[in-house]
């Protein structure tokens, strides 16, 4: 009886996950969708604790239930604290951290179930357990490295021939896993080695990938953990784990591909890191052949903006790093009060992950309709008097359209060069992430405004007020 009720609870749980993901497809329903999925998760967890019966029809022992609740409590407190404390700009690494926890959880389950699987003598089951271990531990160590890199604790490192080493390691791991399924007795030392190998692979996998490609990797690892969870569903013949895991696995894969498309790169290219790694160091710019760089003073910039009819703000990674979203919104309201029409042009990969910029601007209370997606923005640049590019570089580089030799050729960009005036706020003349020159800076209509995005915006606000 309890088992049947539990099945129904799992069914409801699976449905809430689907509704939750579906709800996330619109800003109005997204929050409710998330809460619905959270509710489904809660009943699935509670149902498992109280209604799950073993093969002999016995419930969990009271002492084990107490231990489970202690673990749930510890996890909840740490989870809520971490989630509430994290700054909006640090969101990507937080997602990566939580993802790693899920991967580790899946790997641990596999380690425990490994011995159990021999008692059952079912080799399909054993293979599933090992696959869960493989994927879960790669997801864990990979996510931890991604977290460290986004947090600035770990730098990009590439060993020569890394992709070949990775390939050999992967083959070795799969071979070890396959060999393990042929054994008649469990071998813990070999399992330990396999786990260690997977953890190392995860590190090698993420290590050479450059900072701007990190979101793609996190999304990929996210779908890995989803698959690991689904394998758990196979192990326990548990439908809610299966549907939840597969949903995330397939959704994560599609999301990864969408992100790659937005950057005009193939997934292979991101993983091998042909221009991702190595070149992230700032290649010096200042090529006189392209013309000269013209600076603008804060006062002149303030005048230009105050007397424009229409201003477009192009926020980028630099704005996120400088935490300048509030200052940016203040400038926007100030200009609006002066009768200037202000809008934001958001490149799909602006910020640290897709949609990140929207979250940051939402945090600063920028009204939703003011955020233009790339295509809409490109239609409006012709009629825009002034564009302010804040800490963005590659996403406004005309080389993506004009220069077939450029590594970013073909990437969709914001065509800011069509506006009448362009003000580029940058910390200095360092190259963007792709490490290439930006012709935009040498255009006659472009003026550079150097300095920290937040400090410069604040100076600009003071000047605009004085106007």
């Amino acid at each position: 009886m309890e088992d049947k009720i539990l099945d129904i609870i799992y069914l409801i749980g699976s449905i809430t996950f689907i509704i939750g993901l579906k709800g996330l497809s619109h800003p109005d329903t997204a929050r409710r969708g998330n809460l619905i999925a959270a509710f489904g998760m809660t009943i699935a967890i509670a149902g498992t604790i109280f209604l799950k019966r073993n093969e002999n029809g016995e419930a969990f022992s009271t002492s084990n239930i107490v231990l489970i609740f202690v673990a749930l409590l510890i996890g909840s407190i740490l989870g809520v604290l971490g989630a509430k404390k994290v700054k909006m700009t640090a969101m990507p690494q937080m997602v990566s951290l939580f993802n790693g926890m899920g991967g580790a959880c899946a790997a641990i389950i596999s380690v425990i179930e490994y011995q159990h699987s021999f008692k059952m003598g079912d080799y399909g089951y054993l293979g599933t357990v090992l696959a869960g271990l493989l994927i879960g531990s790669i997801s864990f160590s990979g996510s931890m490295i991604a977290f460290g890199k986004l947090n600035g604790n770990i730098n990009d490192k590439t060993i020569p021939g890394q992709s070949i080493i990775n390939l050999i390691l992967m083959v070795a791991l799969i071979a070890t896993g396959a060999y393990l399924t042929t054994l008649q007795e469990p071998s813990m030392p070999l399992l330990g080695m396999l786990t260690l190998g997977c953890l190392i692979y995860g590190v090698f996998f993420v290590m050479p990938i450059g900072g701007a490609d990190m979101p793609v990797v996190i999304s990929l690892l996210n779908s890995f953990t989803g698959v690991a969870a689904a394998l758990g569903g196979f192990i326990y013949n548990n439908k809610v784990m299966l549907t939840g895991g597969i949903l995330v696995g397939s959704a994560g894969t599609i999301l990864t591909i969408l992100m790659c498309k937005a950057m005009n790169r193939s997934l292979m290219n991101v993983i091998i890191g042909s221009f991702g790694g190595g070149s992230s160091g700032a290649a010096a710019i200042g090529n006189s052949a392209l013309g000269t760089i013209k600076e603008i003073s804060v006062t002149d910039a303030a005048v230009l903006l105050s007397y424009s009819k229409k201003v477009m703000i192009v926020p980028g990674y630099g704005l996120a790093v400088a935490q300048a979203q509030h200052a940016c919104h203040e400038l926007e309201t100030l200009l609006e009060e002066k009768g200037v029409e202000v809008k934001y042009a958001i490149h799909p990969v602006a910020g640290r992950m897709p949609g990140h910029m929207n979250v940051l601007l939402a945090e600063a209370d920028v009204p939703y309709p003011k955020l233009l997606e790339m295509e809409d923005a490109n239609n409006e640049f012709n009629s825009t008097d002034a564009v302010i590019v804040i800490g963005a570089n590659d996403v406004v580089n005309p080389a993506a359209k004009k220069n077939p030799q450029s590594p970013i050729y073909g990437m969709p960009i914001l065509e800011v060069e069509n506006a009448h005036n362009v003000i580029v706020m940058k910390r200095g003349m360092a190259a963007g992430y792709a490490g290439i020159e930006n012709e935009l800076f040498y255009e006659p209509k472009t003026r550079m405004l150097f300095g920290d995005a937040k400090a410069t915006l604040q100076k600009l606000i003071t000047e605009v007020k004085a106007n």
Binding site: G79, F98, F234, A362, D365
Partner: protein, 103 residues
Amino acid sequence: MESIIAFLSQNMEIIYILILSVFLGIEVISHVPSVLHTPLMSGANAIHGVVIIGAIIVMGQAEPDNYLALTLGFLAVILGTLNVVGGFVVTDRMLELFKKKKK
């Protein structure tokens, strides 16, 4: 060959679920606007925390003297909870921002 067919027919129900879920996941995501990609990644991240159910089963069915299963299970439940709770709370925090300015 025969064993493969046997495996498929034994697990037919699960294979149906698997295939339908794959398409459902793709279908649902392809309608998400790019503005919501970050909360979406985070929300999906919370959902795969469903792996915690496995950890709870391991933990709940562990024999009182099986310290390996108890210790690892305990750890797994903590990690799984972090994934679930942290994931949902972070997602909610982000989505709250989208909602506030709608008024």
